[in-house]
Amino acid sequence: MSRSAARDGRPEVVVSGLGIVSPYGAGVKSFWNGLAAGTCAIKPITVIETEGFRSRIAAEIPAEVIGALGSSRRRSRADRIALAAAHEALADAGLEGAARTDAALLVGAVGGGMLEGENWYWEIARGRPSSRMGALRSILPFSHAETLGWRLGLTGPKETVVMACASGAASIALGADLIRAGVTPTALVGGVDALTHICFMGFNALKLLDPTPCRPFDRERRGMSIGEGAAFLVIEDAAHCRARGGRVHARLAGYGMTTDAHHVTAPHPEGEGMIHAMQQALDASGLDARDVGYVNAHGTGTPQNDRAEALALRRVFGEGGVLVSSTKSLVGHTMAAAGSVEAAATILALQHGLLPPTANLEQVDPDVPFDCLPVVARPAEVTAALSNSFGFGGQNVSLIFQKRLP
């Protein structure tokens, strides 16, 4: 069940475009500047009521950033950030003509346009008339793919992948499968999620949110901090990219996807599925664990996730065998977008030779025997890095990116 990029006669896959709207702002540049500076974007929530909840913070995209995106205010918040990120990725890749229109489109999504749907529902349920029923048309997750496919004029395979917090990473892996199978040479892949009442209230109900900004891998960690964002990658058959003179950000060297089949919300206590996902990705890349210099961890900050992920990392890389950080401590857990946001962070870290830190990390949990890059970004020339994304339902996706050497 492993993939062998380029070694099995199938196309090698490279990343040729990046686009992001994050809590730092719109654009890859602001995203990287925020990560490199170690700026924690987790603050009090403004878009939904938080009175009475245990945690009242999140990494929100500032109102002025949303307002400046340019797309119609009638679109859902999630559609607007998805469009901006997708436009940036396509422009960055410089795709034109058939290479662009034939591209596949895979969107990782969970919340859809639920925020606007909830506003309608809140009014109706409280006995007030509402003029917002039109918002229901974009409430489902597939609305993003419909909007993007239409506005960007894409004609390739179109899918909406709902795999909880692994959705964005899964869209990258499944899109790469289409390229490797020769279905299409190019794909626009990524994830998007905006804050919603249901997500905020649900994780509060599960007591998985830290009342203070999350502290992944810290001994005193008390949960995660939610966030919102959109990140899209243009991935491409390497030969196709080379032939058109496209720029390569990184090579998608390998990826693995597994399921715990253990519990609906809790990870396997020994990290069994996580281990297999990382091992699959390594096998597919042809790399040894020692070749991987950095792991952008799923690292939510919940006691259970971080413990299981540390166990899995120890099994794959050995104690202290790799540098680890969680960018969720900086931009929050962006849910369906997290996998693609963190894939972008991993690629940018390779490009810049600078590893983003784990913010708010003061006392590393002794059960996490790794250098988790506390507080300050660290210069390091690594040539391969792995990004982990795990989701409710025991869904595990590991992606390995490799720097393209000159």
């Binding site: 069940m1 993939r3 048309r137 399921t259 409710f392």
Partner: protein, 378 residues
């Protein structure tokens, strides 16, 4: 490197007509009786739409362990019941080689409503941590993966009209690519009052705001909208040599799959619009053989979908007069996320009886288009 070949080795279905494996589905199709009738689960008196194809609780109550069932939402039980039936029909084992792909259009809105109601009634104290996970659409896949021991990829795809078709196509891709040796793939949706009511109010269901008689009449001159159904249908897709080696009862082969997009505004269709990248044309070209012997379509009575599908297939097929309009199963089972998988299941049963090549086609408002070719196993 060529793709691995993919065969269908099992079927499980829980629909308004029956619950069971390949024989149950074959029986329901042979009977050809519509299950559409007045909705009984909730009051539709104030709505312009009143019909549906409902699954009786008794039909599937025995499929899921009673203790487990108490903790599961209805849509999870529908999905789980059909997955268990499919796995039983195929006699396939769980493990690292087994994956799952679930297609759904609406997911578990019942749980989303119940979760929100808890808050509206009692504030933060009314929120149920047990219900919240169900609000994420992949919970049906998660529950089923645990039950059948699926440790290869577990994927949920969300799509209007074609959720089941797309799930089967993606499942076949996972097997062909070697990501799994077997995949349980299909779709599920349930009839839920709030969704039904909103769609009726938006004029998305027959009789679409009151024009004509309510009913599901795909491709007919007086078609005036879909009628919602519910249920779950899953197929077991398996790598051919693995299936042969274990002595599986192979039903048919998924010979080819393709899907694409016609860029139109969300929720709209343009029956006059051509499709230069037609997945049907691509499949026919790739197969190097002309024509298909039978064609199932996604036409469900929605005039936009029906007319668009008829026009697209008319351009794509070599002998359109024999195949257009395609066969629609929506009048039998109602429109729901499992219907696409049910179409592929019907095509597999046709192929098992010797029909040379069966095309399962789909087009949805918003432009998603799917095509699968099902052939007798060789």
């Amino acid at each position: 490197m060529t793709d691995r070949r993919v065969v269908v080795t099992g079927i499980g279905t829980v629909n308004a007509a029956t619950a069971g494996g390949r024989d149950a589905l074959a029986g329901a199709l042979a009977l050809g009786r519509s299950t559409i009738g007045p909705v009984r689960a909730f009051d539709t008196a104030a709505l312009s739409s009143r019909l549906g194809a409902e699954v009786d609780e008794a039909t599937f109550a025995s499929l899921v362990d009673r203790d487990a069932a108490r903790r599961l939402s209805r849509i999870c039980r529908l999905a789980l019941g059909a997955c268990l039936l499919a796995v039983r029909d195929a006699e396939v084992a769980g493990g690292p080689g087994l994956g799952i792909v679930v297609g759904t259009e609406h997911g578990d809105f019942t749980s989303s409503r119940d979760f929100a109601h808890g808050f509206l009634r009692r504030g933060p104290a009314g929120l149920s941590p047990m219900i919240f996970p169900n609000t994420v659409m992949n919970t049906m896949a998660s529950i089923a993966a645990i039950a059948i021991g699926a440790k290869a990829p577990s994927v949920t795809v969300n799509q209007a009209t074609l959720a089941g078709d797309l799930a089967v196509a993606r499942g076949a891709r996972l097997v062909a690519d070697g990501r799994a040796d077997a995949v349980v793939a299909g779709g599920v949706d349930e009839l839920f009052h709030d969704v039904y009511e909103r769609l009726a109010q938006m004029g998305a269901l027959s009789p679409m705001g009151g024009r004509g008689t309510e009913g599901c009449r795909p491709f007919a001159a007086d078609h005036n909208g879909p009628v919602l159904g519910e249920g779950a249908t899953f197929l077991v897709l398996e790598e051919r040599e693995t299936a042969r080696a274990r002595g599986a009862r192979i039903i048919a082969e998924i010979a080819a799959t393709a899907w694409g997009n016609l860029p139109v505004a969300p929720h709209t269709g343009r029956p006059g619009r051509k499709d230069p990248g037609s997945p049907v044309a691509r499949l026919i070209r790739a197969r190097g053989k002309a024509g298909v012997a039978r064609c199932y379509g996604a036409g469900n009575g929605d005039p936009v979908v029906d007319d668009w599908e008829r026009a697209l297939l008319g351009r794509d097929l070599a002998a359109p007069d024999d195949l257009v309009p395609p066969v629609s199963l929506a009048p039998l089972f109602g429109q729901h996320g499992g219907l696409g998988a049910l179409r592929v299941g019907a095509a597999a049963l046709d192929a098992a009886r010797g029909t040379s090549a069966v095309l399962v086609h789909g087009i949805a408002r918003g432009g998603c288009r799917t095509a699968l070719v099902v052939e007798p196993a060789s």
